[in-house]
Symmetry: C2
């Protein structure tokens, strides 16, 4: 069973590496929750063709993550940021630099 | 004229998306500075075949960067980090948390 939420995140990272049509169909299926039959009708093709495409693209997305590990790296960065914020709490740092640190870390994580 | 240094960096980011053979040949040509003729001999093929492969793979690497922008994002992160370190200098922060901030930022950038 494919984890829809995970596929949705993988699409955020690697959707740009799919073709426009593939991305479109994957978005309909995994983000907009359309059925295979509905997507098949929109694309004037068979349910089976859409099924095969989503399966193939899912494998591709997983393969990109195995190679590039962008999702994994993003999680590592988030954890490092949270740990730093926790650790800094024991020091008496003024509010202003604290905000600055927090904001910059957010920007770095979202870059 | 292809910027060898830039290709070398692109290989760091996207080399994993090439086939093992492609990566091997690109590494020989762009990182180890072997000539097309030398690489052709090692791979028992023609100089032209190696030339075509490096050209095709270069285009692929550039296309990956256009889509995923990992190099661009890495540079943005580096700049954000440096700006933060500069800005924090005006505050009287103890040495210990300063080191902690610096080290964590390095880890985040290298994740």
């Amino acid at each position: 069973m494919v984890d829809r939420f995970k596929v949705s995140i993988l699409l955020d990272y690697y959707g740009c590496l799919l073709t426009a049509k593939q991305l479109d169909i994957m978005t309909m299926y995994f983000n907009e929750d359309l059925s295979l039959a509905e997507i098949a009708e929109i694309n004037q093709t068979s349910r089976q063709a859409i099924h095969d495409l989503t399966k193939r693209c899912y494998k591709q997305l997983v393969s990109y993550e195995e190679k590039l590990k962008l999702l994994q790296k993003s999680n590592i960065r988030k954890k490092l940021k949270e740990d730093l914020i926790d650790k800094l709490n024991v020091y008496s740092i003024e509010e202003e630099p604290k905000v600055l640190i927090n904001e910059t870390l957010e920007e770095i994580l979202n870059a």
